[in-house]
């Protein structure tokens, strides 16, 4: 029993820790895709955020400023994507591919120049993203340990759950959200009603980059303490997968990310104790996703105008 509670606590901790960066990326992906712009550049934007976050935290000593700057770095690449796809009507998949090369390329090059290594210098404990409620619980008791595992989470984790709520509210309860969804479904209709589709989409893709950048910063500021070229390997794509899984809704993406995080958490626990091969355990999140898709989710309705450049007649 004690063991079980302990394991559960660790799994929940890992679930939250691993879901957090994905969730930022997924919320970012939601903004872009729902407004009608395919953004497979999330991966590159996360990488940019991961690097910038740690570097700024390292130099300023303030994790929150670092975190924010990680977001801004993502937003910068988001803006690049927006200029190409929204302003110039570029093919969205190709532009996203370009972002996925440019983002890592530029930041790793910067790392080389700044640190003479592809890795950044590890953050000290005070530069890392702080854990909220650390020390609040009495870890000498079983219950306390459990509570500590679950609730003494990184600030960024608390923030992302608030962010999910905010994004949900924005999407479904505000004027901006209604228009944003309309832009992804029928941009011409929006234009005839005097909504500036170009501006809406531009903003959404930038927001998308910002959130992805925060996600990247989470990885290097919570899960590890430094940026390496392999810090972001595929999380961006997993985030996109979570969004498709969640049928392009923030609440759905939340489920997708938690499922992924949970499987990763399972991996941590099982990997430590049982004799099962680590590589096979690592496969679990991906296999489970496919199975869940086949059994429960099925088709995901893509926003009608998703992927189609909107070009205004002159």
């Amino acid at each position: 029993m004690m063991n079980f509670v302990n394991s559960l606590g660790i799994i929940l901790f890992a679930t939250l820790a691993y879901s957090t960066p994905l969730l930022y990326g997924a919320l970012g992906s939601c903004f872009s895709e729902v407004s009608g712009v395919v953004n497979i550049g999330i991966e590159g934007m996360m990488t940019a955020g991961a690097f910038t976050g740690t570097v700024v935290a390292y130099f300023t000593g303030n994790p929150w400023i670092g975190f924010l700057c990680g977001g801004l770095a993502g937003a910068f690449f988001g803006m690049l994507h927006a200029i190409a796809t929204v302003r110039l009507g570029a093919d969205q998949t190709i532009a996203g591919t370009a972002i996925n090369m440019l983002g890592p390329g530029i930041v790793i090059m910067l790392a080389k120049v700044m640190f003479n290594s592809t890795d950044t210098i590890p953050l000290s404990a005070s530069q890392k993203m702080p854990k909220l409620f650390a020390g609040t619980f009495d870890t000498s008791t079983l219950f306390g340990r459990f509570m500590d595992n679950v609730f003494a989470a990184y600030g960024s984790t608390y923030l992302v759950f608030i962010a999910v709520l905010i994004v949900w509210f924005v999407f479904y309860k505000t004027r901006f959200g209604l228009r944003l969804r309309a832009c992804g479904e029928h941009p011409q209709a929006c234009e005839t009603l005097g909504i500036n589709v170009i501006a809406m989409r531009f903003a959404c893709v930038c927001i998308s980059g910002f959130l992805a950048g925060l996600g990247g910063a989470c990885v290097t500021m919570t899960l590890s303490t430094q940026f390496k070229p392999i810090s972001i390997v595929g999380q961006g794509f997993i985030a996109i997968a979570a969004v498709i899984f969640g049928k392009f809704r923030p609440q759905g993406a939340l489920l997708g990310c938690l499922l992924f995080g949970f499987c990763s958490g399972l991996k941590v626990v099982l990997g430590g104790s049982s004799g099962v091969n680590m590589q096979l355990i690592s496969m679990i999140p991906y296999v489970v996703t496919v199975i869940v898709l086949v059994l429960f989710v099925g088709k995901s309705r893509v926003p009608a105008a998703n992927g189609k450049p909107y070009i205004k007649a002159k």
Binding site: R175, R179, E191, T192, L193
Partner: protein
């Protein structure tokens, strides 16, 4: 029209000498238009004449290259639709500008949403929508999703959208193109109600009868040029038609009497579901014989689309039989049906009829690419494919000539349709299914398409014609089958049909045969 509501002293719209160029192409070349308060003004012209371009300028979607636009006597420059909306102009586009998964209310308020703090105030929005729909007698369900309501209802939503924004001047672009006769009558009544209320309406159309029934004045445009503005009471349909196309037009289709032969298509007790999984064809029976055209008259959404999809193999039915020359093609693949005598001119030529990225020559062999002489041992034979295309282009007058290798997407709508007709006619199958074969075509192309359909009949083929244009059904069909709620509810010899009876039956009323 009595022009009883027209106030000739109050022009609300004046467009003066409007010129609009796209690169080298002049879409509008010096067009004038004056619309008064309380007036219904028709704009008549063939497809591509420049009607929509003109209206898009009035609605701020396009900017004139030169010329002035005056609204209520004041010259204004409109940079975007917002400016037009602010000036009291509303537009109902031919292709509805509605967000499918949104509700009626959401669609109507989009762009001018009421809010409470940062929150959308959907309660107020709903109340406003109900109020305005009651004021103008346009009843709708404010909570229904657009994808679940009929085309006629969707049009009401579009009109309400304009009225909600306080439009005094309404532009209706081809508003009747998918309405039933009854719905058209209703629409005309709505229009009269609106002008009575002091609104002005501009209606873009190429349907002469509707102009006669509804409009006060009519401005005619031909190939981008202003032809004339006439008082509708002073002219008849033939005058309008010849002004529109610049020559005399015959509306009659010559069709020799002939006795039909054996049954080619025999549909027995057919049932099938629509895309939502709801039964839409409910025990339908239908026969088409050699040498006759059977027209299916009906309102969109009564199962005719699904009927055709089942016959052509695109949709699986739940039960029934579809015999073509005695072979059951029910729930077989499209290629099986094709091999056993089914050919078709699909409703949506760009979606189903053509691969727009493919060249004309490749589109002409779309069903036959695996057959001799176009392929040998699975290798395409470019020589015969090209020769076939050249001959078809010549014979069917596909323009521009010499376009064998050009992508189908670069052709005009009429010529795209010719490519499909060339392909389907040369397939020489016993059954030809034509769905809305003239939709969006101009008068010249319509005559051409009708001629080929009648030719097939005269050659002893069985033709099934499905069309939302009642005139087309009436002028071509030997037998008119009326479809309602998934069944054929009446079968009338073509010569004896009259529009009002048909319309009633299409709406589920009237006598049953």
């Amino acid at each position: 029209m009595a022009k009883q509501y027209v106030d000739m002293n109050t022009p609300v719209i004046e467009m003066r000498n409007i010129v609009k160029r796209f690169g080298d192409f002049v879409a509008n070349d010096g067009i004038n238009l004056t619309v008064h308060k309380g007036e219904i003004h028709a704009i008549l012209g063939e497809n591509g004449a420049g009607k929509s371009t003109l209206m898009n300028q009035l609605y701020g979607l396009l900017k004139p290259t030169s010329g002035d636009i005056l609204v209520n006597g004041k010259k204004i420059v409109m940079n975007n639709p917002r400016d037009a909306i602010d000036a009291g102009i509303g537009m109902v586009h031919q292709h509805f500008m509605l967000v499918q998964p949104f509700t009626v209310t959401e669609n109507i308020v989009l762009g001018t949403e009421p809010t409470k703090g940062v929150r959308l105030d959907m309660d107020t929005a709903r109340k406003n929508v109900v109020e305005i729909s009651e004021r103008y007698g346009l009843s709708i369900d404010p909570d229904a999703r657009i994808e679940d309501i009929s085309v006629g209802m969707q049009q009401r939503v579009e009109i309400l959208k304009a009225l909600y924004r306080g439009a005094d001047i309404l532009i209706l672009d081809e508003p009747t193109s998918s309405l039933t006769p009854q719905e058209i009558t209703e629409l005309i009544a709505i229009m009269h109600n609106l002008v009575k209320d002091g609104k002005s309406i501009i209606i873009i159309t190429h349907k002469l009868k509707e102009i006669k029934e509804s409009a006060d004045f009519c401005t005619i445009i031909r190939m981008g040029k202003y032809i004339d503005t006439v008082d509708v009471d002073q002219v008849d349909e033939n005058d309008l038609a010849s002004m529109m196309v610049g020559r005399k037009v015959t509306f009659k289709v010559d069709k020799p009497e002939q006795t039909p032969g054996d049954v080619v298509l025999d549909v027995k007790d057919l049932h099938c579901l629509d895309y939502r999984g709801i039964e839409i064809v409910k025990g339908l029976n239908l026969q088409v014989r050699r040498g006759e055209i059977v027209g299916i008259a009906g309102i969109d959404g009564n199962g005719q689309t699904e009927l055709v999809e089942v016959i052509t193999g695109l949709r699986k039915g739940t039960s029934g039989q579809v015999l073509v020359n005695g072979t059951d093609v029910f729930n077989k693949s499209p290629s099986f049906g094709f091999a056993h005598g089914v050919s078709s001119i699909p409703a949506d030529r760009q979606k189903h009829g053509l691969v727009l990225d493919f060249s004309i020559e490749d589109n002409l062999i779309l069903q036959n690419y695996e057959r001799d002489p176009y392929a040998k041992n699975s290798v395409l034979q470019r020589g015969p494919i090209f020769t076939h295309a050249s001959q078809s282009i010549e014979k069917y007058d596909i323009r521009p000539s010499g376009s064998e290798k050009r992508a189908a997407g670069t052709l005009s709508g009429g010529n795209q349709q010719k490519v499909i007709i060339a392909r389907e006619v040369q397939n020489d199958k016993d059954l030809l299914i034509a769905v809305n074969p003239t939709r969006g075509l101009d008068v010249g192309a319509i005559e051409y398409v009708h001629k080929y359909i009648v030719d097939q009949r005269n050659k002893g083929k069985a033709v099934l014609l499905v069309s939302f244009e009642l005139d087309e059904i009436m002028s071509l069909s030997d037998i008119i089958d009326v479809i309602f709620d998934g069944r054929i509810v009446a079968s009338i010899p073509g010569g004896e049909a009259n529009e009002n009876d048909l319309g009633l039956m299409m709406a589920g009323g009237g006598k049953k045969a």
